[in-house]
Symmetry: C2
Subunit: 113 residues, 2 copies
């Protein structure tokens, strides 16, 4: 079966490449696509695309399914969701920090514990 989302790092790294992000874009339309299909628009070799897909699959961003002679790839929204959650966590921490700072400035040094 497809690997569950691993580290957020791997997922971010997976999207941190123009080719792979483009692939994710194509897959975001929902329809499972074959390697040949995914290679079409690009100016890369099928092999290059294959390698990128492997990276996306390993990081849990996409899933692979075999259908006859073709390998169909599909987006895994769970991975996307996890990344979003991670970023939201960072945002939240930041907002909390700002809120504490604001309180500190307005109320004058509150008890620190």
């Amino acid at each position: 079966m497809s690997p569950q989302p691993l580290s957020p790092v791997a997922a971010f790294a997976a999207l941190g490449d123009p080719t792979r992000l483009a692939l994710v874009g194509k897959l975001s339309v929902g329809t499972p696509l074959s390697i040949a299909r995914l290679t079409d628009g690009s100016d890369l070799t099928r092999q290059a695309v294959t390698k990128h897909l492997r990276v996306l699959e390993t990081s849990g961003v996409v899933g692979k399914r075999q259908s006859g002679r073709e390998s169909l790839y599909q987006l895994r929204p769970a991975a996307i969701h996890d990344m979003r959650a991670y970023l939201e966590d960072i945002s939240r921490q930041w907002d909390d920090a700002l809120a504490r700072l604001k309180a500190f400035v307005e109320d004058g040094a509150p008890a620190s514990d």
Copy 2:
């Protein structure tokens, strides 16, 4: 001034490294931190950290400010926000696609135009 968020690709790539993601984590507490401060926990050289910070800055994830002899780095929530928005866009496209598929299955082929 600090560069505005560039491509989402650059931002994702910036977070796609354990060291840099850790740096972002440290900076998410809100307090601006110097390079020496950011290097403390790590087992890397200050130079290595400096390079990573440069990547984070170039991609717009963090901002740099000079204070005397030290360089203070700070998170740029706008960049984080942009990444979230990007991921949400992908999620939305996916959900829409699924909804269309569901409608198709339940209602039987609706007019396609």
